[in-house]
């Protein structure tokens, strides 16, 4: 017994090092598996507060370009409204809430990240704004990611620039669908895999979300085909997708809630 205690006292530095290094490894491995990083995330009071106060200052710097983006989106939405010919004199129905499974929330990104291999963003909306895990996040130009952790006022987002991110996507012109992934290389490109060989892919085709995952509605724009080749088994295409979004400069985003999600997952788990 005394020898054991002596051994511990003699090697206390090494044992402490092993213990703490083991903790770090544990956290690291957890952060590499999807939805598992439990303890260490930036959606807490301290980090969220610091990032929020920094963002209050730094969002003045790109006010002009962000305003430009928003006014362009307004223009597009207004022309859509015109072309659909909404009758001006009919009874007002809140079309956002009526018979629509998707509900939208606005938010700001207070921490952006794109240079790591597992990028995670932080938003300034949280549980108090009824944001929950697995809500989709898009910007005016296209897809951003999926909500991971939430605290009362902040939420973290698994960006599409994350090697663990898997999002169902399809070609716009046909219904061939695959999985959108990232290889950790360039922030302008994502990789669309598992598109069957029979699909008529050409350079410049638009890629959109497929609506199969009950997170994103169908038709959220992602990007265009930059180049493509067959994978090693020669059965599926690997497509390099140039993103519509400039992931290095995003600020205003929309969070999408699918109000039918629970029903869908219950149905699926019962089978």
């Amino acid at each position: 017994m005394q020898q054991i205690i002596n051994f511990i006292i003699r090697n206390k530095n090494f044992l402490l090092f092993l213990l703490l290094f083991g903790f770090s490894l544990l956290f690291t491995i957890q952060s590499h598996s999807y939805h598992r990083s439990k303890f260490i995330n930036s959606a807490n009071f301290l980090t969220g507060g610091v990032y929020n106060s920094l963002n209050n200052i730094s969002n003045y710097f790109d006010l002009k370009s962000q305003n430009q983006l928003l006014s362009e989106e307004n223009k597009r939405l207004r022309s859509l409204l015109q072309s659909h010919g909404v009758a001006q004199d009919s009874v007002f129905i809140d079309s956002l809430m009526f018979n629509n499974p998707y509900r939208f929330y606005t938010s700001n990104i207070i921490k952006n990240s794109y240079s790591l291999s597992n990028n995670i963003l932080t938003l300034n909306k949280g549980r108090n704004d009824s944001i929950k895990q697995d809500f989709g996040v898009i910007s005016s130009k296209g897809i951003i990611g999926i909500i991971d952790k939430t605290s009362s006022n902040y939420a973290t987002v698994i960006s599409i620039l994350n090697t663990t991110s898997r999002i169902s996507a399809q070609l716009k012109k046909t219904n061939h669908f695959g999985t959108l992934t990232w290889n950790g290389d360039k922030p302008e490109f994502n990789q669309l895999i598992d598109i069957p060989k029979i699909a008529p892919v050409t350079k410049g085709d638009t890629i959109i979300t497929s609506g199969r995952s009950s997170i994103f509605p169908k038709g959220v724009p992602i990007g265009v085909v930059e180049d493509f080749q067959l994978d090693q088994a020669e059965n599926y295409y690997e497509i390099n997708v140039k993103l519509f979004n400039d992931m290095t400069s995003v600020e205003h985003v929309y969070i999408i809630e699918n109000t039918n999600k629970e029903e869908i997952t219950n149905l699926l788990s019962n089978n």
């Binding site: 530095n13 090092f17 703490l20 690291t28 260490i40 990240s113 790591l116």
Partner: protein
């Protein structure tokens, strides 16, 4: 004792804030960032207890990780260099370290540079190995280590020169 304690608390907080609010947004050429928070571990008093340094390094790393959402990679790398620091001290300073009389303000520039270089390279190798976490991308690990190390070493040397108190 009290003033030393407060100096290191201030240094800890200041380095964390500088790191997460300024240096992580540099992204030079897309991915090169300096990580000068390791100055806290490098400049920690030599005479102090190693256990305290290892614990503080873990705390420092986990704080950075919390801000960057990176799991435990900074904590792992910091704990590693805190543990191997005596070895690095011995190789870069030799005799002075044996006599326990190092003052980081007074040692000559060459050995100080060796000391920073060794610590930085060790830290960055562990950091990027944990971040990328795949042996097949070992070239990317070395590439990131090399470029970020150059940046970190340059910045650490500049910072220590600016903040050194022996003005000649």
């Amino acid at each position: 004792m009290n003033s030393i304690f407060s100096i290191h608390t201030i240094r800890f907080i200041a380095l964390v804030f500088v790191q997460v609010l300024i240096l992580n947004h540099i992204n030079f050429l897309g991915y090169i960032n300096p990580y000068i928070y390791i100055l806290f571990i490098a400049l920690f008093p030599v005479k102090n207890n190693r256990v305290i340094l290892i614990l503080l390094a873990f705390l420092l790393g986990i704080t950075i990780d919390m801000f960057l959402d990176t799991g435990g990679i900074h904590a792992g790398a910091s704990v590693f260099i805190a543990y191997v620091r005596p070895l690095v001290l011995k190789t870069s300073f030799g005799m002075i370290y044996e006599h326990q009389t190092i003052k980081f303000n007074t040692v000559d520039f060459g050995s100080k540079l060796t000391y920073f270089t060794l610590l930085t390279v060790l830290h960055h190798i562990v950091l990027f190995s944990l971040e990328i976490f795949s042996i097949s991308k070992i070239l990317l690990i070395f590439q990131k280590t090399l470029f970020s190390s150059i940046f970190t070493i340059l910045l650490s040397v500049v910072v220590t020169i600016i903040f050194s108190r022996t003005s000649k």
